[in-house]
Symmetry: C2
DNA sequence: GTCTATAAATTGATAGAC
DNA sequence: GTCTATCAATTTATAGAC
């Protein structure tokens, strides 16, 4: 019975290998030969599971998307207060601080690179979904906290922009300290924002 | 006398062409053939001016660096108040809003891509200098405003992270409106931050 | 200094045996 | 389903005529 199961395991292993390499080296620099080697699968076999390199990258993004949604759902399950949930988002990069400092945000950097393929490229659209997941979930939490619809959207964008920008800078400077300290500042901003009595956009 | 001048003009033209293509397509996807075509220079001639593709990219980054410093200097010359100067930084993306929405930040996206070459790659280090120029200049302005040394560094990082994150999201979403509105919010944050009576880090 | 032709290496993708 | 061998295209870089 190994046969039937090995195929889905190999597929999964290919996606895992590709996911890591896309984070470490980016899409363009990652070759299918390298992915195959890391997954311990012969090069030619890759094409049995994925018709093209793009298809493999899309599978990686889909896996990221699923993983993100599960992670977000776990925060919702763990905390009743939206403020606590959003804090999880801000602190999340610290859980993989080493990777973030060394390679940047696995979603943000991938998204930025894939956008260079052109606005109408399927992969670019797939990458954009990753950022959308971040923003939409954050928006939901601000709504749940009691913020207005437009304000929630704007706050969510503020938050994701701050976290993404922080990861970009901390990665570029290769600084754990910068990542930690700046994320703490984002968290403070978040606390102050959610504490102020129902911000009415027109202050 | 054309001879002597044409050579430096061609060099400049190659850098200009490469600069545009690096912004539009990224480093990896930009071929020297494409650069040569846009600069209206035969492919083989590129190597007379630049030993390698990397050398051309470094010239582009150096040009960006020079341009940034000149731009920042012009803001210093135009405004006596650091607050006004920093406002220029926040509003700058609006001057080329179309390009930013379509291709992202020419410095941030390049920096992010080049980091994938590895921490010790010369091009990665060159790209990192671009972000450093932003942060250091901003830091100087916060200092001039009267903020403490550590606080200025942190505020500068906050600011650049917010602007970079905003450009990433606005580009990904291809939204002029998002770019405009979120930058306005960053500006409001900047105003509030600089208005509060000398933030003492320990609030 | 300028340009054409081409070498050399890489890499996405396929053919076809097993 | 699995794997080897290889094609075909791309692209950096060079050789060498002018």
């Amino acid at each position: 019975m190994p046969g039937a199961y090995e195929s889905i395991e190999k597929r999964t292993e290919l996606v895992r290998a590709a996911s890591g390499l896309l984070h470490e080296q980016g899409f363009q620099r990652t070759t299918l030969a390298h992915v195959a080697a890391r997954a311990e699968v012969p090069l030619g076999n890759v094409y049995y599971y994925f018709k093209t390199k793009d298809a493999l990258a899309e599978a990686v993004i889909t896996a990221h998307e699923t993983g993100l949604r599960e992670l977000f759902a776990s925060w919702v399950a763990a905390h009743r207060e939206p403020r606590q949930r959003l804090r999880c988002l801000v602190r999340a990069p610290l859980d993989s601080a080493d990777h973030v400092v060394q390679f940047g945000c696995p979603h943000g950097s991938l998204c930025q690179e894939l956008e260079k393929l052109g606005a109408d490229a399927p992969l670019a659209k797939a990458g954009a979904r990753l950022l959308a997941v971040y923003i939409e979930w954050s928006e939901d939490q601000f709504r749940a906290h009691g913020c207005g619809k437009r304000e929630s959207r704007a706050l969510a964008t503020d938050l994701v922009a701050a976290v993404q920008g922080t990861m970009l800078i901390a990665h570029t400077m290769r600084s754990h300290e910068l990542l930690t300290q700046q994320l703490r500042r984002v968290e403070r901003w978040l606390d102050e924002t959610l504490s102020s009595p129902r911000p009415r956009s027109r202050s």
